[in-house]
């Protein structure tokens, strides 16, 4: 039965249901219980944003606090995954990957290849990304392109509560290392989510909206920006097709190409910085594969090549918004000249 819950509740429910189903699923990270060893309440925090809140009372042996030692516990996730567990480790903010990246890209991601196919490393790293809460340069980046670049990792970037639950369950059940990007602004987003467990396969994009004039590929929180833009543009007679890749590795190129073949125009909306990003990647793949179908050069709407600023005024300028998406669409459809 579906009911309306938040993106955060959807992730929490996925974790709880998988922990119930499979005793090898363990959850750990900084303050994932919150309060271990302290004189007050147990389960005081459930993660810094409360995503894992309520799991500890159900699974006191499998929800575990860690010291602030990302190298040690992210590496421990890799070791645990190689020896019989399915760990879900929390890297609180993805900006912190700098202190544990070796364990992710040199260890977990490469085990299977380096060891000639013998290693199976079923681990999930949950991590928060994105600007919008005035958390400034070291707590606000959208770094999924860096992880997408690395062979051996899968990268999941859900845009809504329904997908968040289904993709989390699929990620936990997956036998490869998965980096699961949670957008901190979307945590409070509500949507219809079935109560029962379900999987959304990794590598399957979704048509969020159909239209014949232009394809908008949008990632994570940018999907809702694209939807708002599409709604406004519809009033101007421009019909946008929105494709949400849902996972950036594997990337469902087929669906993107299919849409571009239909519309002949592409706008990519990516909150990441513009160089070597998902936007450049998707634009390049489309240019290489759909060149003859294109009626206009692909357009990218991204954050600028700067760190995320602190000032609310500047941060709001940093994140792509529906107006910028709409402007890009008008440009590729030639409507800009008429406006």
């Amino acid at each position: 039965m579906a009911r309306r819950i938040t993106y955060m509740q959807a992730i929490n429910e996925a974790l709880r249901q998988e922990m119930e189903r499979d005793e090898s699923v363990v959850v750990f990270g900084e303050d994932n219980v919150g309060g271990t060893g302290a004189p007050g309440e147990d389960d005081a925090w459930g993660g810094v944003m409360g995503v894992t809140k309520g799991l500890y009372p159900h699974f006191p042996d499998r929800v575990i606090d860690t010291p602030i030692s990302e190298s040690a516990f992210i590496g421990a996730a890799a070791g645990a995954a190689c020896s019989g567990l399915r760990p879900v480790a929390e890297l609180m903010f993805v900006d912190f990957f700098g202190v544990c990246m070796d364990q992710i890209y040199n260890q977990a991601a490469k085990f299977r290849y380096m060891f000639g196919g013998k290693a199976v490393t079923p681990m999930v790293i949950r991590t928060m990304y994105g600007a919008g809460i005035r958390a400034a340069a070291q707590h606000s980046q959208s770094l999924y392109p860096i992880f997408t670049h690395i062979p051996g990792l899968k990268v999941v970037v859900p845009s809504n509560p329904y997908d968040a639950k289904g993709l989390m369950i699929a990620s936990i059940r997956d036998d490869d290392p998965v980096i699961f990007f949670e957008n901190k602004v979307l945590y409070t987003m509500e949507g219809e989510v079935p109560e029962e467990p379900y999987e959304i396969p990794l590598g399957e994009a979704e048509y969020v909206r159909e239209g014949d004039d232009v394809t908008i590929v949008a990632i994570g929180r940018m999907v809702s920006m694209a939807e708002q833009a599409a709604e406004a543009l519809s009033g101007e007679g421009i019909e946008c097709e929105i494709v949400d890749p849902r996972t950036t590795s594997p990337l469902d190129e087929e669906t993107i190409f299919e849409s571009v073949e239909n519309t002949g125009r592409l706008v990519v909306v990516d909150e990441a910085n513009p160089r070597c990003s998902l936007a450049t990647d998707i634009a390049a793949r489309v240019a290489e594969n759909c060149f003859d179908d294109l009626k206009a050069a692909p357009k990218m709407v991204t954050a600028p090549h700067t760190p995320p600023p602190f000032s609310p005024t500047l941060e709001d300028l940093y994140v792509p918004d529906p107006e910028r998406v709409a402007a890009a669409v008008r440009e590729v459809t030639g409507a800009g000249a008429r406006a």
Binding site: S24, V26, D61, R62, I64, T66, P67, S69, S71, A72, F73, I74, G75, A76, A77, A78, G79, A80, A81, C82, S83, G84, L85, P87, D102, Q103, N106, Q107, K110, F111, R112, Y113, M114, F115, G116, G117, K118, A119, V120, P151, G152, K154, D174, D175, D176, G203, P250
Partner: protein, 329 residues
């Protein structure tokens, strides 16, 4: 008859096994030293010769389903943990029938079926991994133990220090073995660790730490036995610092101009682990020279065959390039 400390609980078979392990590692490494110089072996090779007593002394206490994580200098750990010697040699030659189908090489030699989580090309890469294995054993309720081997160089990595703390606070069945061979690449331990025993760092994490002579199989065997028993019985992690020497350079091709003249020669004559082992078990009347000589011959033949097969084994075909990146994609 001389008393041999730590040998009481070892039967003759185990003594012979330990000797065979050490001799196999020595022969493997000495032979690689020769073969590498011919230019037939690709890449980097870091030899474990001189440190054999540590791998043999620790692994004598580990079961098949226990795990280890290793270092750049990982051949000895892999052999002692039961990895197939011929498969290892083929791997070092980069061949399709190698332990990792030629996709890992010397620095990533691994066999998870044997509980060998890999040599590691990253200094300090292993300690976090064994924390994970320890957590796995604890959550699944097994009595498995995980041991990480780290050099004196790796002992100064944040991962190692973080892992000791994590293992301590999570109370994990883990043993950290520091193989202090005096050099982190070309940098002396005298410079990089300010002259203190690395084992003393254990105090800071609230875990037991001891220093042992890494040339002495029986000393390592005894210290490792205590630490591994404690881990298996739920007593948490320990640190063992083994003071030892390496007979070759950081990697093959290292001219080792940073070492004193005759440094290695003197160690070979005074502290060689195989020599010490032989002296002690024969003078105590536990094993006869002839029995050890026979092992020497058998091992020599095994390594001869390994090199021969390593050279003759087929190269991996193009299809290997793209396989085993993911379980599914």
């Amino acid at each position: 008859m001389t008393e041999v400390a730590g040998a009481q609980e070892l039967g003759k078979e185990q003594l012979l096994d330990a000797y065979r392990t050490m001799r196999t590692i020595r022969e493997f490494e000495e032979r690689l030293h020769v073969e590498f110089a011919t230019g037939e072996i690709p890449g980097f090779v870091h030899l474990y010769a001189g440190e054999e007593a540590i791998a043999a002394g620790v692994m004598a206490h580990l079961d098949a389903d226990d795990y280890i994580a290793s270092t750049h200098r990982g051949h000895g750990h892999a052999i002692a943990k039961g990895c197939d010697v011929k498969g290892m040699m083929k791997e070092i030659y980069g061949k399709a029938d190698g332990l990792c189908h030629g996709k890992g090489g010397s620095m990533h030699i691994a066999d998870l079926d044997k509980g060998m989580l890999g040599a590691n090309g990253i200094v300090g890469g292993g300690p976090p991994l064994v924390c994970g294995v320890g957590l796995s054993a604890k959550v699944r309720g097994t009595n498995q133990v995980a041991v990480s081997f780290t050099g004196d160089g790796g002992s100064n990595q944040g991962t190692t220090l973080e892992s000791m703390n994590l293992a301590a606070v999570w109370d994990l069945p883990v043993v950290f073995v520091i193989e202090n061979n005096g050099y982190a690449e070309a940098t002396s331990t005298n410079f990089s660790t300010k002259g203190l025993d690395i084992a003393k760092r254990a105090d800071g994490f609230g875990i037991p730490g001891v220093v042992v002579d890494g040339h002495d199989f029986f000393a390592v065997y005894e210290a490792a036995g205590e630490a591994i028993r404690r881990a298996r019985e739920g007593g948490g992690p320990s640190l063992i610092e083994c003071k030892v020497n390496r007979y070759y350079g950081h990697f093959e091709g290292d001219a080792q101009t940073y070492r004193a003249p005759n440094e290695v020669e003197n160690i070979r004559q005074e502290k060689d682990c195989l020599m010490l082992f032989r002296q002690r078990v024969t003078s105590a009347g536990l094993v006869e020279d002839g029995e050890l000589d026979r092992i020497d011959e058998e091992v020599k033949q095994l390594i001869d065959e390994s090199v021969e097969e390593g050279k003759a084994s087929p190269e991996p075909g193009e299809e290997y390039l793209l396989t085993d990146v993911y379980v599914s994609y």
